[in-house]
């Protein structure tokens, strides 16, 4: 009898077990499979048991973009049981809520009271009980379980049990975010990513399981990809949600692919994923954004500094060169001046002593008045030579020539005339002193001296436009201008003219000598002197 009862019981157990097996999805030992669907490190645990008709259970350990909770994807589940394992004395400190399809609150902050199972003191979970949080119809439903401890009200553990079909993102669109603007971009667009681009905004139709949707951006050239777990934000219009991709993800030039896909399993891939939706674009090689603005400024400043330094050095160099050139020029001029001074001071000694002899003659003839005057003239001439002035006025030059010719007149009885164009400001126009003197001396000695009273010398200062012409003409017998007459003071004069030309480069002195049987004419033209 005892055997019969035992076998009946066994049978009954078997039936129950069988029935249980039919009811629940079981593990390899035939026990109902308890899926731990809670959140890592949570103070509260949640276990899920599904019916045996369930085709697929995808428990996640955790989702990056859903840090406070977990999502469990189910396929074909009809009913689910939810339990939490709690210390038996602590039950009253727990509260739980069950929300169906985001709208129907089945339980709200309920205290777990139903106990499914108690673990004994020697078991693996001593003094723990399995609190029954309910059995729910799961057909095409989203059931959210929230549980928290009253001493940690803010740390709510949430699990979404999702037993609905999952679709690819719908109404997916992309916009380029500028500093102050947002513009739509089409697939396969080329983008110039400059400093004002802030990112790309992805928008899709809102779902009741947005957290499942991930965005990955892949550089197709370098094959580097970044998985973004965006926090989808709802926007007011059109039941859409948005998520932004920062510009740093696609700043480098190259081809990019943005994939939006639901993570239907842990470590689900977007590649060859039927539910993945792709968007392609190319970041163009930047024209200006090779450097950031800050870099540009810094490099700009450095370049400026370098160019500045080079420029400065060049300027200094050129200035120094210029100064050297100027100094050299100055020195050349100074040399010319010194040489000129030495040339200028050469008054024919023949003349000097003959002039003194003339004065002596006057003294001996007791012509003291004449002697006084001629002595003064002689003094003026020699003083002029000794003082060696660079420039004298035309008036002073006229006086000197007059003094000289008067002294020569003492010796030779010739006629002379000195005149100047009426429109010449003889008092204020300055010329190098005694330019004509050697020619006048020459005219006296070799031209008119022998002619006596018939001899004539004419000196003219003529204004010809901006040129000043110093002219000396005599009616002597002339000389051959092609021959070099050492004694004629010609070489001296030519030397002086060329020295003057090295100082007054812009206003050249031109010496012209015409000589024939009827006389000699010397023209010294000071071009553009006036």
């Amino acid at each position: 009898m005892k055997k019969i009862i035992l076998s009946f019981l066994l049978l009954l157990f078997a039936i129950v077990a069988h029935a249980q097996n039919n009811k629940y999805l079981v593990d390899e030992y035939g026990n109902p499979k308890h899926y731990s669907v809670g959140v890592k490190y949570s103070k509260c645990n949640i276990f899920l048991v599904v019916d045996s008709g369930t085709k697929h259970v995808t428990p996640f350990e955790y989702l990056n973009n859903f840090p406070s909770g977990n999502i469990v994807l189910l396929k074909g589940a009809k009913s689910i049981e939810i339990e939490s394992r709690i210390q038996k004395d602590s039950l009253s400190f727990y509260r739980y809520s069950i929300i169906q399809n985001d709208s129907i609150v089945i339980k709200k902050d309920a205290i777990p009271t139903e106990i499914k199972y108690r673990w004994g003191s020697g078991s693996i979970l001593p003094n723990y009980v399995a609190a029954d949080l309910g059995i729910f119809n799961a057909v095409n439903k989203k059931i959210e379980v929230q549980i928290y401890r009253t001493d940690l009200k803010t740390r709510v553990t949430s699990v979404i049990i999702y037993n609905k079909p999952i679709f690819a993102s719908k109404s997916l669109s992309f916009k380029l975010l500028g500093e102050n603007s947002v513009r739509s971009i089409n697939n396969n667009t080329s983008l110039a990513v400059n400093g004002s681009v802030k990112g790309i905004r992805v928008s899709m139709e809102n779902t009741d399981i947005n957290a499942l949707y991930s965005v990955v951006i892949e550089n197709l050239d370098s094959h580097s990809s970044t998985l973004l777990n965006p926090k989808w934000k709802r926007i007011k219009l059109g039941g859409m949600v948005i998520a932004d991709i920062g510009v740093s993800e696609f700043k480098l030039p190259g081809r990019y692919r943005v994939s939006v896909y639901p993570e239907t399993s842990q470590y689900a891939s977007w590649i060859n994923n039927k539910l993945s939706r792709d968007f392609l674009f190319t970041t163009l090689k930047p024209r200006t954004s090779l450097f950031t603005q800050k870099q540009l400024i810094i490099y700009g400043l450095i370049l400026c500094a370098i160019f500045g330094a080079i420029f400065g050095a060049a300027v200094t160099y050129i200035k120094r060169k210029e100064a050297q050139k100027l100094a050299l020029k100055h020195r050349d001029k100074e040399m010319a001046r010194i040489q000129l001074a030495s040339v200028r001071s050469q008054l024919n000694p023949h003349f000097l002593f003959n002039a003194l002899a003339g004065i002596q003659m006057l003294m001996n003839k007791n012509e003291t008045d004449k002697a006084n005057r001629y002595l003064s003239k002689f003094a003026r001439l020699t003083r002029n030579v000794l003082e060696n002035k660079e420039l004298i006025s035309l008036t002073a030059e006229k006086t000197l020539l007059d003094d000289y010719l008067q002294m020569e007149q003492l010796r030779f009885g010739f006629q002379y005339k000195i005149s100047a164009s009426a429109d010449l400001d003889t008092e204020n126009i300055e010329i190098p002193a005694m330019l004509l003197q050697p020619f006048v001396e020459n005219a006296v000695k070799h031209g008119v001296a022998e002619k006596g009273n018939a001899g004539q010398i004419e000196i003219n200062f003529i204004k010809q436009g901006t040129d000043l012409v110093l002219r000396m003409a005599d009616n002597g017998s002339g000389f051959d201008t092609s021959k070099n007459y050492d004694g004629l003071g010609l070489a001296l004069s030519k030397n002086r003219v060329s020295l003057l030309n090295s100082i007054y480069k812009e206003t050249p002195f031109v010496l012209d000598i015409q000589s024939g049987h009827s006389g000699t004419t010397v023209n010294i033209t000071l071009t553009q002197w006036l």
Binding site: L375, S393, E427, N428, Y504, Q528
Partner: protein, 247 residues
Amino acid sequence: MRAILVDDEAANLENLKILLAKYCPDIKVVACATTIDEAFTQVNLHQPDLLFLDIQMGKTTGFDLLNKLTLKTFEVVFVTAYDNYGIQAVKFAALDYLLKPVDPDELKIAVAKAEIRIKNKIHGEQLNFLLSQIKKSESSIPKIALPQQHEIRYVSVEDIVRCVADNTYTFFFLANGDQVLISKPLKEYSDLLKPHGFIRTHQSHLVNPRFVKSWLKEDGGTLLMDTGDKIPVSKPNREMVKEVLGK
């Protein structure tokens, strides 16, 4: 007019005496002196109208005599053999001077000018100015005497903006805006002021570079003065002006 002649060479005194007797018979030579001390005594004794004063007298100068004579009721004509530092100072004071050997015509002119000054009784002032200029250190900025018909202006060389020639006259443009017309040719002043940095930009223009604002390229070269005046630079002077202004 009563005159005293001062020269360290007796022969020069004799010569000048003869020239004065011959060409300026109105002058009565009351005394001659070959030393400063002697001259000092003679001047105090005779109170002459006119002094012919040699500048270089051995180790002393004619200026030493003037320094000793506190009361100057006479005119001075300086006599010197050669243009030197002393004569420059005399020129700056716009005083008269003769060069040896003395030209009879120049002697006559100098005496005639002295006569006018004696009549107008402008004594001492220019002489004191001359002495003050000589005492000054060489680095200090000299003043120049600008004799006008009724007054003599003493102007610091620094305060002369520019000079413009008008035949034998010279217009002075001063920093305070005054214009002064002087009856001497520009050449005299250009010789005096060039050593003090002045530049002859043109036959009719002498310019103080201190008052030059900029070089204008119009007409081949023009100087713009601080006063806004434009001064022409003639072609022969262009390089020289650039050189001076470039420094």
